[in-house]
Subunit: 316 residues, 2 copies
DNA sequence: TTGTAGGCGTTATCAG
DNA sequence: CTGATAACGCCTACAA
């Protein structure tokens, strides 16, 4: 048995002839080692988990694709979880923490983690890389959301807009960091030029096209609608633009629109937007988690900042 | 040990007081059963795998989201694999068939499976549901791709188009069924009205926006460009439209465009397209695989057909 | 270079 | 209702 195990895993100390024979027979029998048994024996699973707040959005699909590509190179499998509301978040973080033993490491996208929860997980041996949020215990990969958003707002302000709406994240406040930080950037941008923020102009859009559509509809119903709108994702911006179109309005003439992401189709819409480098974000996160498997994790967790840039097109 | 095991899994034959004590202590210790050990013991893993040809496309992101949602209800985890070329396909199907023991079942999207390979996998105890393709051994969920595509082509023909281009799947022929079937529907549509198909008008677009852009550019360079174009996905249609726009052309006046999918933003583009019910496809597949875990699989594999419909908007 | 034995953490069986 | 005990299939010493 030991020899077979070694032969199959290309370990040394096996006679070439034996190795060849073993591999041939294994092939004939379609033999594949049972990963559960192997995990049990070695204490590693050979898979990495990723948690996202939603799967069907351009950003997360792209990011997960980047992760998968890197993991494949290292022969790691990918476990995917979606945590879409607070109940699921709690369940994931403090309840059925199955993933803790099912995977060797976790990539956590923009999901809130209190310091307590962080410590708890760390104590239980969790290896985590957070994206969008940061935790005291784990390495993280972030954007400077506030600055990125300010670029968008400053641009609108420079164009002379004083009454600016914002289409935010989800309706129920899940405490996701990213929308919160973007909102902060938005508010800062207004404050900087002495514009008083009007709560009426902050409408949730759930990060979906449909949500963006509805949010813009609400904005247009206002007695004093905004002359410009910042949407926290391009997908919501698309929805907003569609709503405008269906009411015969046009960007930027009637209302200027700025998005966030630089989606594949944003160029087609001529959407002015804040570009983030999604392609590399997933890959980088995957490399970070793989790297963190090696070291003990006792050193100061790494902080990586990904770049953003304002892409000015036609809608603002 | 046995009692603890029973208590934690809510099995009968445990005194209420004992159960409560066990659960309390488990909670205090952050104890979570090791899934590898459990898998080894019971022979089931509690996870389902999904393989897709690409992750960063609207269709697959949506479909995977649907799968995840259903699996979560049944406490199954999701393993995600991408198989993007023939090398990876072979590796996945005949090489490192790790997933076979790592998961209890596999949902396979539009990935070729020869009859031999099917039999082989079946013999090795694989539980599979195929989407987009069908295999003699496994249940499958499909569209009537040919008919769906014909609807698009017939529409263009009815509008008087005689010279129709098509933006197909990938350049390297991976043998993926869906693009092949759609191409067949396309050709049938032309034949039906006696139009001779011109190979020059069949350009690969790799199912990406960028690919669609390039494909349309090629089409426009032709001595005798088409007056209408059918793209096998909305994303490619978006790219095509963008290319037209950048050359000052407009749909449908200069070239009519029809897509396939009915993407979230297609309405905004006014894209005429073949709608498929992506939302339910993933969920249905997940239910099918879960159902197939129960029965022996000896009976005739189930065939489910999902509906499509032509949505006529402005581009054609 | 090969083979033997113990253990990884569960679950299931069976005796108390 | 509870507690021993033998799998589950593999890996890692260590012995041959």
């Amino acid at each position: 048995m030991a020899t077979v195990s070694r032969a199959l895993r290309d370990l040394p100390n096996v006679a070439p002839s034996t190795r060849e024979r073993v591999q041939r027979v294994a092939q004939q029998l379609d033999y594949v080692a049972n990963p559960s048994a192997a995990s049990l024996a070695v204490g590693r699973t050979g898979s990495i988990a990723a948690v996202v707040p939603m799967l069907d959005s351009w950003y997360f699909a792209k990011a997960v694709a980047g992760i998968e590509a890197v993991l494949k190179e290292s022969n790691f499998d990918l476990l995917l979880y979606a945590v879409t509301n607070e109940r699921e978040r709690l369940q994931f973080v403090t309840g059925r923490t199955d993933w803790l033993r099912r995977s060797d490491g976790l990539i956590m996208f923009d999901i809130r983690l209190s310091d307590d929860e962080s410590k708890r997980l760390e104590a239980n041996g969790a290896k985590i890389v957070t994206i969008g949020t940061c935790s005291p215990s784990f390495p993280s990969l972030m954007l400077d959301e506030v600055t990125a958003t300010r670029a968008a707002v400053d641009h609108l302000v420079a164009k002379g807009h004083r009454r600016i709406g914002v289409i935010t994240g989800d309706a129920e406040d899940l405490g996701y960091r990213v929308p919160i930080l973007r909102l902060e950037g938005f508010r800062q941008g207004l404050e900087a030029v002495g514009i008083e923020q009007d709560p009426e102009l902050e409408i949730p859009g759930g990060f979906s096209t449909e949500g963006g559509r509805e949010a813009m509809a609400d904005l247009l119903k206002l007695d004093d609608p905004p002359t410009a709108v910042f949407a926290m994702s391009d997908e919501m911006a698309f929805g907003a633009l569609d709503q405008m179109r269906s009411q015969g309005l046009c960007a930027p003439d009637d209302i200027a629109v700025v998005g966030f992401d630089d989606n594949d189709v944003s160029e087609l819409f001529g959407l002015t937007t804040v570009r983030q480098d999604v392609d590399t974000i997933g890959a980088t996160a995957a490399r970070m988690i793989l790297a963190s498997l090696g070291n003990s994790g006792s050193d100061e967790p790494e902080r990586v900042l990904s770049k953003t840039s304002l892409i000015i097109r036609r809608t603002a």
